[in-house]
């Protein structure tokens, strides 16, 4: 491909580890284009048909000016008395038929070419979409922490579209243009070299403009996409946090933020348009100048009798065929520029290796006793600032029938412990084992099938209640689903809804209160088997009475599993076999309820705060 020659910089995307991931796109656009083109050529049959059709379409298109020239010569010939009338009429008839057939064939092959081009474009879009989807589901939490969902959406929609457009309109059209200009050049040179040179004088100038334009446009596209990503982020956050915006009547502030960002985006848009217009109009101008030269030089040549009038017509007709393509060159460059930035943004993500993945020799987790152990675990978030550890020296052991409770101030690392059990992050020191197997050595799928975490913040899919409850096991039977909902004290509520378990929830369905959502999430968790069950503060929005009933419903389940309960309400965990008091990532107290009370330390203080009646009365 032509663009390969303009390669600048290193020849490889060097961004393939999550931790070095950058939002910025690498400078290596030629690689990106090359890669997209290679993807297109993977659809060999379609591309072959497409290319053959392109060649034929271009060929037939090149016939048209020749036939036109011939017709003019034939008609003119009679005027200059070089042939008789009957033969001329026959000749005109033949030329007319040839013209119709050439046009029709050209149309048919163009159709073929376009169709194949679009089909390949859609196929590539499809493949990219699938790869992108799979990749996003594979990438680890620490990566998702850092990227904005709006940005990911933009890539999944706009960038795939940008790549697809280039394949659809660019790749084959590039052939078409080359053949049209190349084939035309041969024909014209054969007629008259001098005039041919004049006719094609615009090609190198346009070519030069193209290569300049491509880089500049690409640069503005890149800036535009960045700016649009910012704008998207502002809008998305505003809409997600609309209650906060309303609560503080911050609409003006939000509009200001939007306007600021929007104005920059508009300025870049204008810059892009300005550049684009400048280049395309210049190209058309140069093209027309060439045409004027052809008329001038060619006209004199006809007058001097060096070429025929028909040949001049042929030159001019050929040039007028090029008028559309010259205009399209502009669009093509635009689409190249866009595809190379879009492709870069996509490949940046597709090339990442998830930092948390199965080891090559990973084996499935084998559950024997169901013992979960933390041994001297240290942890800090990969992206965290400072060198403060989030967890240090955590050791604990949970086994079926034994419940561990965790309390501690916000940010002490409770949720982090939960995340480590499912290996959503890797420990930075020590180890987490289940039945003696380090969780880093077992397959992720088998690990996660055995660790059930009911998260602090429930996430519901916009779907029916039973889809949501059965999210982890979409094959679950109705009775299992109802059983889980009953355990979470939700069954009665759901069965009283007009459509029962088929009721839609989520943003378009009925709105559930915070506590109802948490119970939904509990139902989802208890539907599944697994050796370890973790409740991460998952009853915070549920009133005490309901919570107690959930707990008694859970009694049987709890007996068979190692259970970890994170809670602030001490009644939620005071019956745990061991309670850990966490502070700044360290266990500062541990023991059962009575032991901890006896120590009269932090736990005892907390307990007295929640039970003694008079304490806060005095304060207020």
């Amino acid at each position: 491909m032509k663009s390969k020659k303009t390669s600048h910089g290193k020849s490889q995307l060097d961004i393939n580890s999550e931790s070095t991931y950058r939002i910025a796109v690498s400078k290596l656009d030629t690689n990106v284009l090359w890669r997209i083109t290679k993807m297109a050529f993977r659809h060999r049959l379609r591309m072959a048909i497409g290319i053959v059709s392109t060649i034929l379409a271009a060929t037939f298109q090149l016939f048209v000016p020749q036939f036109l020239g011939r017709a003019v010569d034939q008609a003119h010939g009679l005027l200059t008395l070089t042939s008789d009338r009957a033969t001329t009429e026959d000749a005109l008839m033949t030329t007319a038929l040839l013209l119709i057939s050439a046009s029709l064939l050209r149309g048919l092959f163009t159709m073929c070419q376009n169709y194949q081009g679009e089909a390949v474009g859609h196929l590539i879009g499809y493949n990219l979409r699938l790869s992108y989807y799979r990749q996003l589901q594979r990438l680890s939490f620490s990566w998702h922490d850092k990227v904005h969902s709006g940005d990911l959406m933009a890539r999944g929609i706009l960038d795939i579209e940008g790549v697809r457009m280039w394949v659809t309109t660019g790749v084959l059209r590039f052939f078409l243009l080359t053949i049209l200009i190349g084939g035309g050049a041969i024909i014209l040179f054969r007629i008259d070299i001098e005039l041919g040179v004049v006719a094609l004088a615009f090609v190198p100038i346009v070519g030069f403009r193209v290569s300049v334009a491509r880089l500049k446009l690409r640069d503005t596209w890149m800036r535009l996409q960045d700016q649009m990503a910012k704008l998207t982020q502002i809008m998305e956050e505003n809409l997600s946090g609309i209650r906060v915006v309303r609560a503080f009547a911050a609409q003006d502030h939000e509009l200001n933020r939007f306007d600021k960002s929007s104005r920059i985006a508009l300025a870049v848009t204008h810059e892009r348009i300005g550049l684009f217009v400048r280049y395309t109009t210049q190209m058309t101008f140069v093209y027309f100048l060439s045409m004027g030269l052809v008329l001038w030089v060619g006209g004199h040549k006809v007058i001097d009798g060096e070429i025929t009038l028909g040949e001049l017509t042929q030159f001019l007709a050929f040039m007028s065929i090029l008028q559309m393509p010259v205009r399209q060159i502009g669009w093509m460059i635009n689409s190249i520029a866009r595809a190379s930035t879009c492709g870069g943004r996509l490949f940046n993500i597709l090339d990442l290796e998830p930092s948390i993945a199965d080891k090559p020799d990973a084996t499935p987790l084998r559950i024997t006793d169901g013992v979960l152990k933390f041994e001297n675990v240290d942890f800090r978030y990969p992206a965290g600032d400072g060198d403060q550890r989030t967890l240090s020296g955590i050791s604990l052991e949970a086994r079926p029938g034994k419940t561990i409770g965790i309390v501690g101030p916000p940010g002490s690392g409770k949720s982090t412990i939960a995340q480590l059990i499912g290996r959503y992050y890797d420990v930075t020191g020590g180890s987490v084992t289940i039945d003696g197997q380090d969780i880093r050595n077992v397959s992720l799928e088998s690990l996660r099938a055995n660790v059930r975490i009911v998260q602090q913040e429930p996430f519901l899919f916009t779907s029916s209640v039973n889809h949501n409850v059965a999210y982890g096991d979409p094959w679950a039977g109705r009775s299992d689903i109802e059983q889980s909902a009953a355990t979470a004290q939700l069954h009665n509520y759901i069965s009283n809804l007009p459509s029962g378990y088929a009721t839609l929830v989520g943003e378009r369905g009925v709105s559930l209160s915070g506590g109802q959502r948490q119970r939904m999430s509990i139902a989802r968790g208890v539907l599944l088997d697994g050796a370890v069950l973790v409740f991460d503060d998952s009853t915070a929005s549920i009133d005490a009475a309901t919570e107690q009933r959930i707990k008694s419903a859970l009694k049987d389940i709890v007996k068979e599993r190692a259970v970890i309960i994170i809670a602030h309400r001490l009644s939620s965990l005071m019956h745990a076999d061991e309670i850990l008091f966490l502070e700044e990532g360290r266990i500062v107290e541990r023991g059962d309820h009575d032991q901890l009370l006896a120590r009269s330390g932090r736990y005892a203080e907390l307990y007295s705060l929640q039970t003694r009646l008079s304490d806060t009365d005095g304060e207020n």
């Binding site: 979409r129 699938l130 309303r246 508009l266 940010g411 989520g506 709105s511 915070g514 929640q610």
Partner: protein, 630 residues
């Protein structure tokens, strides 16, 4: 690239879908009101009237030059070149004509530059105006609309649909130019030679016939393509937002297969749509060929009869080639246009969403209010005939701290939302500082009421910016004081950059409790007369909470507070406690009073320490009755 290898098709799980169950846009795409959309777009073009007139002038000039070029060629051929004989004179004439040609080309260049620049820029402005109008409108539409509408769906209108319009607007200038050119060419052809012109144009009706058959079929195909696209994008959005749950419940493979189904559907519908776009090409080209054949045969015959100049025939041939260009591009633009019309409609739908809660024309914005809150016979619900609050009346005196307790779903949050007039009541009235909330501006409610919402939403940006959100002019000291009051200062200082630490999306790099503290600090900075705390400390331990309460005792002097909490320890210090059940206030009084009355409160309160083994049966029964009703 890791090529997506579809995993072996497992049997399809009965209870799984990706993306919304509801077909995203079924309700929207019934018909296409092209004229309506264009009319509405016109309104947004009004500010650019002057520039549009210039642009139209440029388009006309550009088209004239386009038309002139073959005419000059004709003149050159007929008068200068083909005239044979007098060579010297022909050469001179040719030179003049070429000079004219160059002049026209320069003119063409200028006009082209002007038209494309202006149109491109107006298109840019228009899109940004539309997006801003939508965004601004979403800032005021009722929350009941926002509750029902997924952020992703709105985003797809703010971005996707606006982009679809962009494609249309930027190419529309060519369409307009093409149109003018079309008529120009017809005029020129007929004036050059009426007979030949009429015969050449005789192929045009065939084209119209073809379009009449083609249109409904193509429209259906394009519609399907668009629907499958939005379904695929919705599924993608879901996977992005729910990625943590997906990984936790190892739904990757199931979801991938389901997504593959949607994407395949999308692929097929687009490929079938592209069949419709392209089938027109050979038809148009065939007709072009036919028109040229007519010129060659008929025109050639006329030339032979000396009834037509050879140059006219050449000009005809040139015009016919150009003649079908606009027709061709207008057809190819058809799908862009369709998309744009649908997009326009979706955009205007957003703009037309009714604003149920809006400022009255004479709404007041008092500088100071006294901080009282009064509910009088308030009935309210989200769905018709299902009241959530039933005839509630209460009064909170200025400076008083009132706690609201009750089972989930009993209507506590709704009560708070009404105080801030997030929704309008069905019946009764609410007064804040003695003013009916409907008589106050929303900005004034925002200034006098500070809220800590149940879900502590934070924005990207620094911690400082987030705490300052409610009061942009708050000083750094005020912010640090607020952070200290809620006990957030210590952890903030432990973060790498302190108050300048950048938060991830939604504050993801903080724990939920920490986010709650920041959201609390944010409300304190607002320095409002009324403070509303909706489970503001649910994810915070009691010890931290106690410290907050101590600090609050000082901060809340002379301020009114309404507090929702489940942990009764949180609220037992309140001046008054109201127990809400099933949308009704069933008990009210201070802690001691309620404990003595042995009602729901005292039972709930005791429950807090009970283990699940020792809930008395009768309590469980009463409680379950009350809870199941929610």
């Amino acid at each position: 690239m890791a090529k997506a290898t579809p995993s072996p098709k497992s049997n399809r799980p009965p209870l799984a879908v990706v993306g919304s169950l509801v077909s995203q846009d079924e309700d929207l795409f019934g018909r296409i009101f092209d004229r309506w959309v264009v009319g509405r777009l016109g309104e947004y073009l009004r500010p650019y009237r002057a520039r549009i007139i210039i642009a139209i002038g440029a388009v006309l000039a550009f088209t004239l030059t386009q038309l002139a070029i073959p005419l000059i060629i004709r003149a050159a051929i007929d008068d200068a070149v083909a005239s044979g004989g007098e060579i010297a004179e022909g050469g001179a004439l040719l030179n003049i004509l070429v000079a004219v040609f160059i002049g026209v080309v320069v003119f063409n260049y200028i006009a082209n530059h002007v038209q494309e620049t202006i149109v491109g820029k107006i298109a840019g402005h228009l899109l940004f105006d539309l997006r801003r109008a939508m965004y601004a409108h979403l800032q005021v539409v009722s929350l009941s609309f926002m509750d029902k509408t997924e952020v992703g769906r709105l985003m797809s209108r703010l971005q996707g649909d606006v982009n679809a319009l962009q494609e249309f607007l930027e190419s529309s200038i060519f369409a307009i130019g093409d149109f003018v050119l079309l008529f120009g060419i017809i005029a020129v052809l007929l004036s050059l030679d009426a007979r030949l012109g009429a015969m050449t144009l005789s192929v045009v009706p065939i084209l119209f016939l073809v379009r009449i058959i083609w249109l409904p079929l193509a429209r259906r195909a394009f519609l399907r393509a668009r629907e499958t696209s939005s379904a695929t994008n919705a599924a993608l959005a879901e996977s992005i937002h729910g990625v943590r749950v997906v990984q936790e419940l190892t739904r990757e493979d199931v979801n991938f297969d389901l997504f593959d189904e949607k994407a395949t559907d999308n692929l097929n519908s687009h490929i079938s749509g592209s069949k419709y776009t392209n089938v027109l090409i050979p038809i148009v080209d065939g007709l072009t060929g036919a028109a040229m054949a007519i010129i060659v045969i008929v025109g050639g015959g006329l030339v032979l009869d000396q009834a037509l100049d050879i140059g006219v025939m050449v000009a005809f041939l040139f015009y016919v080639q150009r003649f079908f260009d606009p027709i061709r591009s207008l057809t190819i633009q058809y799908s862009i246009m369709q998309r744009a019309m649908a997009a326009g409609q979706r955009i205007f739908e957003v703009l037309d969403v009714e604003v149920e809660v809006s400022n009255k024309s004479d709404a007041q914005d008092p500088k100071e209010i006294d901080g009282s809150i009064e509910f009088e016979n308030v009935t309210f619900g989200y769905v018709a005939d299902q009241p959530v609050l039933k005839n509630i009346s209460f009064r909170v005196a200025p400076g008083e701290t009132v706690a609201l307790v009750g089972p989930t779903g009993s209507g506590k949050t709704s009560t708070m939302s009404l105080t801030h007039r997030f929704y309008d009541v069905w019946d009764g009235s609410i007064r804040v500082g003695g003013h009916d909330v409907r008589d106050l501006t929303q900005a004034s409610l925002g200034r006098h009421i500070a809220m800590v919402l149940q879900e502590p939403y934070l924005f990207s940006g620094t911690i400082l910016e987030n705490i300052r959100y409610a009061k942009l002019e708050a000083s750094r000291d005020a912010i640090i004081d607020a952070a200290k009051a809620v006990g957030a200062h210590d952890f903030i200082m432990r973060l790498g950059a302190g108050y300048e630490t950048e938060l991830d999306q939604g504050g993801g790099n903080l724990s939920l409790g920490q986010r709650q503290l920041l959201s609390f600090a944010r409300a304190l900075v607002a320095d409002a007369k009324i403070l509303i705390l909706d489970e503001a400390t649910a994810s915070i331990d009691s010890y931290t909470e106690l410290n907050i309460q101590r600090a609050l005792a000082r901060l809340l002097e002379n301020r009114t507070a309404m507090v929702i909490a489940h942990r009764l320890a949180t609220i037992r210090g309140a001046d008054r406690i109201m127990v809400l059940q099933d949308g009704e206030i069933i008990e009210t009084g201070d802690h001691a009073h309620l404990m003595a009355s042995e009602g729901l409160y005292s039972r709930l309160y005791r429950m807090n320490y009970a283990s699940f083994d020792d809930i008395p049966d009768d309590v469980a029964r009463t409680l379950s009755e009350s809870n199941d009703a929610t």
